[in-house]
Point group: C2
């Protein structure tokens, strides 16, 4: 007696934290199509490039993007050297934990905070400050290290893509030197595969040693229409898959999925207030408005955290 | 009868186009030290980063850096659309092949030429122009494609380092999008491992398709003290080995060899007028002056093309 030949599911066992459903299936189908040798949509390994936004896509971003919380902690730490900050915006808002007053200072206020806390030291000194913070600071809601707040389903996507010959990159509005302090350990993504915002640095010899000194001046802000620009300068090849969660990622998804051949775009929609946070159209720094309307029409995979993710964070019981 | 145990030479057969001598030996020794597990200078694979200048280090650069020859060909091709160039510097100098008049226009003249020929089109259109040129244009002395003028001994170093777990990067003053048209094929270095100069690009939707349009404005000039800056922004980790040939590479070698642990710096000195070109202190764009004096004192390997390279180009008989 012979059983009928069964076609094995190429993705069986893959992406275990994803619910069975169209979102998980769309990832498996895409990978199957681009890796099937001789198939009409086969993509050579060297061209299998996937890009991921960071805040809200690979790790959480509420109540405020985590690098912002690092900035706030630095403002508090530096206050003894800057007593005048008590009466000066945007510092006053940070010290009084007044997020409404901070929001009123807009992007200019955020840039002022970043320059006051992220410049004036060497790259090595900054690296140490960021590493110390990331190793000790805790998330206000979860009371966990921030590196514990990477999304388990997205870690599985990173691994699944790499197991299928993809090179994975972060493309984020976050500071490139901040992200590099944890990306290899948490995401398995090395420093040279992180594209992000940066400030100007200057080469100097100090006490006979070469150093790079961080200047209070923006070099590149890797957001919105500048994400494709950053991808082009840093990666130099149009990716075939892009993952994001806000309208800051819209141009990146548009650029990636606008190429010829098999393309994949995915948007994480944060709709799970119980296990994480729920936000979209009115979220300020992480607004998802245009993407929510246009994503489905453009064939992008829309992920509902509530329905598509069985687990959100690695620390949850399986 | 038993023969005494022989310690095998770990580099036996490696770098065959290098003469036996201190230059070849210094490369083999360095690689042996950083790859010996348990040894005092062992470096984990993820930190084995090596950076290479391009013009004069990986391929030739005379009579003029090859991208400059591409610029000159573009000026001639675009002349019908710009008849006024016949009377305007620096275009006039190019059209009359007057290198002295061109040199008199300085770096400003070169930038004008680059902006007039490298901007105003999409990145895909530029890619096609550069690929067409690199596939057909010939070197005035050797009558070979420019991609045939990569240095055989340096191709061997790239392969040898990669075989020993190194990730290899180009860090060059040349245009990043120009170099990317051939780097994977010739050097085995993918587009995202090329750090170079760039102009500003702008994201636009044209006929419903997303494109990046090249603007006549410099974004980053990756030379001299800005090579360590570029390494930091793009690679995000201090390399442990650097290869250059001119004072434009001095800061890069200083930065790389100024770190702790095993470090390696190498300068190619072009002293072979018979097989290639001989130039150093008065070479203009590729001057080797400070490096010639200070390199040996800093422990950098000084390579004489005449004495250390058995073959210069791949097309020479073995």
């Amino acid at each position: 007696m012979t059983a009928p030949a069964m076609k094995p599911d190429p993705g069986a066992g893959a992406l275990p934290s994803w619910s069975d459903g169209p979102a998980r299936q769309s990832i498996l189908d895409f990978v199957s199509r681009v890796t099937t040798e001789g198939g009409p949509e086969f993509v050579p390994v060297l061209e299998r490039i996937a890009v991921f936004d960071n805040d809200g896509t690979l790790w959480a971003e509420r109540p405020f993007p985590f690098q912002g919380l690092f900035v706030f902690d630095r403002v508090r730490a530096l206050l003894p050297e800057h007593p005048e900050w008590k009466d000066q915006q945007p510092f006053k808002a940070v010290l009084e934990n007044d997020m409404k007053a901070l929001a009123a200072t807009g992007m200019a206020g955020l840039v002022t905070l970043v320059m006051a806390t992220h410049a004036g030291m060497t790259t090595e000194e900054f690296d140490r400050l960021a590493k110390d913070w990331i190793a000790t600071a805790r998330h206000p809601k979860f009371q966990r290290l921030f590196t514990e707040l990477a999304y388990q389903p997205m870690l599985e996507v990173l691994n699944y893509l790499r197991a299928n010959g993809f090179k994975t990159f972060v493309v984020s509005g976050g500071g490139v030197e901040f992200m590099r302090t944890f990306s290899e350990r948490i995401y398995g993504i090395p420093p040279d595969q992180i594209v992000g915002s940066s400030i100007v640095t200057k080469y100097e010899i100090r006490d006979g040693k070469p150093v790079l000194v961080r200047q209070p001046k923006l070099n590149f802000y890797d957001d919105k229409e500048d994400k494709p620009v950053g991808i082009n300068v840093f990666i130099g090849r149009r990716p075939i898959a892009a993952f994001g969660n806000s309208d800051g990622d819209f141009a990146m998804l548009e650029w990636v999925t606008g190429g010829t051949g098999a393309r994949f775009g995915l948007i994480v929609h944060h709709d799970d207030a119980a296990r994480e946070f729920a936000y979209d159209r009115e979220a300020g720094l992480a607004t998802l408005d245009r993407g929510l309307d246009e994503g489905p029409k453009r064939g992008w995979t829309m992920v509902s955290v509530k329905n598509d993710w069985k687990r959100v964070f690695p620390f949850e019981a399986e």
